[in-house]
Symmetry: C2
Subunit: 157 residues, 2 copies
């Protein structure tokens, strides 16, 4: 009843490919027991874990960051409420920021961007704090994006 899962089963049930599951293991995102014959056997809890990984990855969080967060969870047993709570505490802010960015983007698509105010510097949506910017100054939005350059990719030196 508490069957262990083979890598193929995990792959099927998460929608990932088998090599991807192995790759995630190599990146420290999950761990597996081995059979005497060296094959991986997974606990059901990896399904949950992988669902979180794919969700996070899809919205652009780098695997290393996910792995870092997971590093605080127990590798061997299924995480309990307190474990997830700790993970969540460190993570929620980032996710919230991401959501805020998306909502700003949606706002731009919807309205402000077509509202006729031609100067990016003065646009309330691109410049949420409404900090008037002199010539040559970056908008707040841009500074936000840059400071988030903790996230790899898209950095300006």
């Amino acid at each position: 009843m508490d069957r262990e899962l083979t890598i193929g089963e995990v792959a099927r049930r998460t929608g990932l490919s088998v090599p991807t599951v192995r790759y995630y293991e190599s990146r420290g995102l999950l761990s597996a027991r081995r059979t005497p014959g060296n094959q991986r056997r997974y606990d059901r809890s990896v399904l949950r874990r992988l669902a979180v990984v794919t969700a996070a990855a899809r919205v652009g969080l780098p695997l290393a960051e996910v792995a870092a967060a997971f590093a605080e969870l127990p590798a061997d047993r299924a995480p309990d409420r307190a474990d997830w709570f700790r993970l969540s505490a460190g993570w929620r802010r980032r996710v919230d920021e991401r959501i805020a960015e998306l909502e700003a983007l949606r706002g731009n698509l919807d309205g402000c961007i077509g509202c006729g105010c031609l100067s990016l510097d003065r646009c309330a949506l691109f410049n949420p704090g409404d900090e008037a910017t002199a010539e040559g100054t970056e908008s707040r939005w841009v500074r936000r994006a840059r400071s988030a350059a903790a996230t790899p990719g898209r950095r300006a030196p």
Copy 2:
């Protein structure tokens, strides 16, 4: 007064690097006039455009998709309300989906995932439609993620 911007100015004001701006041009995300000496000169509207590009890219929308959306905008003049509206119509859904995914992730981080229901298949958050799934069936969440495989990367063949 309607000064044109050099690539360096554009870079400074968007927080991107100069090569990145050129790269975006090569990917069809923007266009530039050239001086007699072959240097790029930009209209102020590229700032807005680039802000949208970076916002989209940061949340994981591939440049090709952004380019495809932009392809419906005029390349030469600043887009007007109607232009943006058309773009928006095609795009908003995708952005909404992304937001929904993020919110689900946040929900997982916050609560459900630590709620004690150990089966991914039966978890309401991973399985929002509450479609009970028999052994071996993929969760709805996973199917959603896979069908979104229009987005490159993370596909399972």
